[in-house]
Symmetry: C2
Subunit: 274 residues, 2 copies
Amino acid sequence: MKLFPMPSNATSRRVPDSGAARPARVALVGAGPGTRDLITLRGAQRLQDADVIFYDRLIDPDLLDLARRDAKRVYVGKAPGCHSWSQEKINAFLVAAAKRGERVVRLKCGDPGVFARGAEEAEALQAEGIEVEIVPGVTAASAAAAATGTFLTKRGRNDTLVLTTAHKADHSTPPDWVQLMASGARVAVYMGVSKARDIVDLLESAGLAHRTVVDIVSHAETRRQKTAQCCALELVDVIADRKISNPAILFFSLGENSECTFLSEQPPALVTMA
Amino acid sequence: MKLFPMPSNATSRRVPDSGAARPARVALVGAGPGTRDLITLRGAQRLQDADVIFYDRLIDPDLLDLARRDAKRVYVGKAPGCHSWSQEKINAFLVAAAKRGERVVRLKCGDPGVFARGAEEAEALQAEGIEVEIVPGVTAASAAAAATGTFLTKRGRNDTLVLTTAHKADHSTPPDWVQLMASGARVAVYMGVSKARDIVDLLESAGLAHRTVVDIVSHAETRRQKTAQCCALELVDVIADRKISNPAILFFSLGENSECTFLSEQPPALVTMA
């Protein structure tokens, strides 16, 4: 089943449907936040073409229904802090499937280019002479903002957006995005729940915690979605009280007032879709 | 025509198909880079449901073929530096169409939350009691990276990504993202071609221009796509020589060497899809 005719520039890069000369090839496909209908048309097309799909822990099972019934679905369980498969094992299976001539999709949460370790998989594949196609997706920050009716940038107020992650390879301190936030940037920390204490410390040492507003969105676009808004000083307590867990995005921006006064007047807003 | 059954959490927010009580409502839909097949399934569904679509200059006309044949297509010509319609006029037409009870889609390039002035449109609509739904999209940086086979972050090397724009409301100097770049961030400047000179000056004053690598992607995912890689010191000349124009993303990151030595040995790589 074809969703739509492909545009000519995409068609020229498509794999022929048959023939022994078909090059070994893997599509790294961004699933978006994991909800079935926030993948791109091209991503859905690749799923429908796939012989085998390697997918992550955060992918909504409904999304896999887009694939052919006889396609192999391989759960690799990859998620920060919870790797069922090592990256090396994932790489090895991708290489092996592509070399068998199978149409391989590596389905990744969000966008393959943003905190998805796509570069490591692409390098392993290319080292074996396997072609890699990247199908971009909606990154988690975009999905989280949209799900809560907010915008990542706002002309004249937040003209810069920083995407960073609390799960870094070297576990060092986060880069100093605090100065950019102070000059008007909005900062989205991916998978930030477990590092909230460290981030608040960073803001406190810069003298900014009392006027930094945090918007929290966990499990965006799923039935488990939770959102909350609080002052950075309250962040650790709000996360604990509301039982907020990763996958979550923490958005940091400087409040318009010299203190987060609204917070003492009303409890943090909490909205669930369940 | 329905593409797919909607997931339950989306269904609960859908507009009923008939009835006078249907609330006035506008969907701000991210089109992705403009190519027909990089919109999300949800975005395509909204296009198919729409009575009227207000679209920007950068949208590929093929994308509008996803809409019903009898849907009104209104070109508002909005693009940085080239506004056929003022923002106020766009807002007024969105409000009027929604109040007439039409299903309105405001189709925006990339993601509505990133440099799309979505907040201004949403505020104008909400001030008139009109519901706003945001359908996220693939932002231009993700599309540009994917189209060139690269990744926006790389574990252990580029753990932070900065998205900023050369077209700011106040035309002031860009925020100081240079320090973040120096500590390992990758910086994507949207619509940066016309401000390349200013950016290079900023890097030179920080003593970093000679070892900053720039990846240029213009008209990503279209037949006019051009890409080039150069040292920041060459950026202005490369843009002029290669006739690179907006829409374009300039990616800045610190090179691995103390100087962009590769640049004196070979001409900047240029790839076109045409």
